[in-house]
Symmetry: D2
Subunit: 105 residues, 4 copies
Amino acid sequence: MKNSIEKINQFRDERNWRQFHNAKDLALSVSLEAAELLEIFQWRSSEEAIAAEPEHLKEEIADVLIYTLMLADDLQMDVSEIIDEKLAKNAIKYPIVDTIDDQNS
Amino acid sequence: MKNSIEKINQFRDERNWRQFHNAKDLALSVSLEAAELLEIFQWRSSEEAIAAEPEHLKEEIADVLIYTLMLADDLQMDVSEIIDEKLAKNAIKYPIVDTIDDQNS
Amino acid sequence: MKNSIEKINQFRDERNWRQFHNAKDLALSVSLEAAELLEIFQWRSSEEAIAAEPEHLKEEIADVLIYTLMLADDLQMDVSEIIDEKLAKNAIKYPIVDTIDDQNS
Amino acid sequence: MKNSIEKINQFRDERNWRQFHNAKDLALSVSLEAAELLEIFQWRSSEEAIAAEPEHLKEEIADVLIYTLMLADDLQMDVSEIIDEKLAKNAIKYPIVDTIDDQNS
């Protein structure tokens, strides 16, 4: 992921865009792109959406990642580390059992 | 990012959760986590939010990434590649100029 | 709707909350509440969600309306009017035809 | 609000659109429109957004209301009632005090 973050930062520095990139507006942007991703599934099943707009799906997933990586980097986070830490917290909340867990229990 | 995706997949397979993970609900989940991230900034400035809840910020950014990486992997996407492709499209839409670009122009 | 807006305004003025209610944070709040509404449907079908959490559905729909009505009122909008105007615009975009319209065409 | 709901229902029945309107996709649509509303404030202050796009603000607020009223009506909710009930619950959670309340306390 370090390589992607470097390319993303190069892109925004070439255009002098960091001046706009405060944390609140970056978090807001993550939400906006998440909605553009979700829109592909509006009125459709998963299969219909994937069949109808495979390229658009790639673009919106990329957009969500780009804004999230910018925000994480601006907050000096190591994304591999924070994912590991969150998985560790999730493992305590959802211990492995023998039967199938309902994700909402 | 491949290492993070492997750990995320191991986590959900240990718990047999892929049965729930259709693309539409994963995209919906990305939106939900994006909102939990944005909530940290509700009624606050960027600085106030960062000072008030630094750990919570890490957790919510991790959650957005975890769901997005699960969706990307289920759709057989290479996240480094789709980020590169989107940056390439963005470079055409926002060419580098000598003056400061307004991101919304 | 005027009656609801009066009660909502009385509620926030009794608590001196308008000081926090700038338009950007109100719009952000509408998004947060929309996500809390959508969460009821995570991993579930419409029928499962309605059966599982009928009271929670009422609360979240009310929350979305409360924040949206506050924002509309602060911007001096008449909500019946703006709904009429948007339906008129939609009627031009989606004229009535003899066959069934695909909402995404 | 009854009058608005009648016009909204007439609009969708003239076009035979209720066939698409399951609760989950309506809730998803509320989220999408909330994001389109929030987008007007991206990279901007409240004042800048209001000055830049006053008509667009009316349209997106109307869209959020239209989808929310459709969902509420399909679930047989009386919107004035559910707003009253939520304000009553909020009044218990946030009692009126003599000093200024922090909304997040």
